[in-house]
Amino acid sequence: MSVGGDIGVWSVLLAIVGSALRVSTPYLFVSLGETLTEKSGRINLGLEGTLMMGAMSGYAVALGTGSPWLGVLGAGVTGAAFGLLHAGLCSLPRVNDIAVGIALFIFGTGFAVYLGKPLVHPVAPRLPDIDLGFWSSLPSLRAALQVNALLIIGILLAPAMLWILHNTRWGLKLRTVGDSADAARALGYSINGVRATATAIGGFFAGVGGAFLSLYYPGAWTENLSSGQGLMAVTLVIFARWNPINCVFAALLFGGASALGPALQAVGITSNYYLYGAAPYVLTLVLLIRTSSTKHRLFGAPSELSINK
């Protein structure tokens, strides 16, 4: 193999790693949040709207206060409010959580774009980089390893969440509510209360994921900032089998897959660009088909989830 070929392969790989790290952060946050929500037995398809609301409000708060981190917090709070809206509607009788999710997806996207109109031109302070490639002198490697603190927070959050789910009373309570409403009732837990908390936290995370979009990468508020990361969260969670640690890998994989096309394009390989982009969806579908059965549920799936009934 020629030297030139080597450099080509390496730069493609580095570009993929670099953009996978960047692109995957919002995936990671929405999927962690959705994992928590689904663990409580509800499905929130409206995270796409929440993501956009988070991106918009985070940008606005950062612009107003001059602090991108306050922006992240503002985005989270907005997301939590949307989560509560979802939970509130779903706790009413005869209200379907999937339909409410689609409604919130439409509403949230529209609302964010509406309120974000004045934010298109001003420039808000950006979240700072962390230079993980400081030890290297290769500029392309350093560029690839420039990451954001949110990615690191997200990656640390995953084991923390797993720990909470398995080592705290609240975690066990959440899983009980999501897995057996009968058991939860027998233990006297408030099913709607637990689900509302979980959906609000899920919304918080999705909001933070949105703030990453507007405050770091791509790093500005635009009307089509999100390209379906919020809707994909739901399938990502299924792909990750409702396990927060798997969410990290799934998010990196999905980020990498969506970076594959652009990276190949950058080195001149343009054929099948869009087919690579479909890889995550096909992958999830194949996984679903392989693990589903008409006789029993998906392994690891919370039994109270409407998509499992």
Partner: protein, 353 residues
């Protein structure tokens, strides 16, 4: 429970109208907060949707594909399936019609155009029948799989129009080969609205008749209302579910074909403008009734159509119409919980008087 949504006549109508009014009220309060006069906004909303010949024509043009994509939710819902794959079926319908149109080059238009529409419908039908079959025989949740199918359809569209079927004569936006212009369908005489509106309304009427009046529709209602009752009645459950899904997919595929033969003349990413999701909204606002779909689609089309006027008059962002649509969707869903309590509400309001 989606499938059991049987039209409860006046109660459903009152609840829906009430929900729409609540949503309008919430929207009015919101615009008041942004410093606008809500009544002026309501007025412009009306003018933009139905106030002039031009606005009515825009409303009708926007409503046409939404009626068809709404049927992609409504018909499978009768069999108890919650399908959200209208967007993807529309794309497939567009692609199918382009391929048919190119293949039929040279044929007489009177023959080719129906075949093109049929090809679009068939592509959509197969596309939605696949998730239904996965549901019946593998237990794969149809809502999630149709969501994935939307993304796969869009990727397929992008792939095809940026390479295999690309028209390199179109430098601005990757676009497929055009269908011969002779095959394009024109506008309804006397209106600058294309024939898609007639197809949409006709499809809703046919769906209404099929679902309400035929033995097939009757069997679907049993299946969607209670799988166990359908089994006990000896109905062919799998065949019914697949047929319902395919019919829904055919409606959405027809919407894609109409967009091609009446509007774009080719397939491109312009097909993906959210008609599929608007169809879900319309289906729920219409409470899964095909006749009500026509009205709900006019409402949603009208709101979309008035976006431009709101923007010009008040400098409102064009997302205003999406916000209002979202409010309506949420309010209608919330109003579901009031079923059966209406009598209580009425008697209380009677006491107040």
């Amino acid at each position: 429970m989606i499938g059991a949504a049987v039209w409860r006549g006046p109660e459903a109508a009152v609840l829906t109208v009430g929900a729409v009014l609540v949503a309008l009220l919430a929207f009015g309060i919101f615009v008041a907060f942004t410093g606008l006069d809500p009544f002026a906004v309501y007025k412009v909303l009306y003018l933009g949707a139905f106030g002039s010949r031009f606005s009515i024509e825009t409303t009708l043009t926007l409503a046409a594909p939404i009626m068809l994509t709404a049927l992609c939710v409504v018909i499978p819902a009768r069999a108890g399936l919650l399908i959200i794959g209208g967007e993807g079926a529309l794309v497939l319908g567009g692609l199918g019609s382009v391929l048919a149109g190119v293949a039929l080059n040279g044929a007489p238009a009177s023959l080719a155009t129906p075949l093109i529409l049929l090809a679009g419908a068939a592509a959509g039908a197969i596309w939605i029948a696949i998730p239904a079959a996965l549901r019946q025989f593998r237990g794969v949740n149809e809502t999630i799989s149709t969501l994935l199918f939307n993304y796969i359809a869009i990727a397929l569209l992008n792939h095809l129009v940026s390479g295999p079927i690309r028209d390199y004569g179109q430098p601005l936006k990757p676009t497929s080969w055009p269908i011969p212009s002779a095959f394009m369908i024109g506008t309804i005489p006397g209106l600058s609205v294309h024939w898609g509106l007639v197809y949409g309304v006709a499809a809703c009427l046919v769906a209404f008749v099929v679902l309400r009046q035929t033995t097939f529709g009757f069997a679907l209602s049993i299946l969607g209302g209670n799988l166990r009752a359908a089994q006990m009645a000896g109905l062919p459950v799998a065949a019914l579910a697949l047929t319902a899904a395919a019919l829904g997919g055919a409606a959405a595929g027809l919407a894609g074909a109409v967009e091609v033969v009446a509007v774009h003349g080719a397939a491109s990413i312009s097909l993906v403008v959210g008609y599929g999701y608007a169809g879900i909204l319309v289906a729920f606002v219409a409470r899964q009734n095909p006749l009500a779909v026509v009205l709900a689609a006019l409402l949603v089309g009208g709101i979309s159509a008035s976006g431009g006027l709101l923007q010009r008059r008040f400098g409102m962002p064009d997302a205003a119409s999406t916000v209002l649509e979202g409010c309506i969707f949420l309010a209608v869903l919330g109003s579901n919980s009031l079923y059966g309590r209406l009598r209580f509400l009425q008697s209380r309001s009677a006491e107040v008087k």
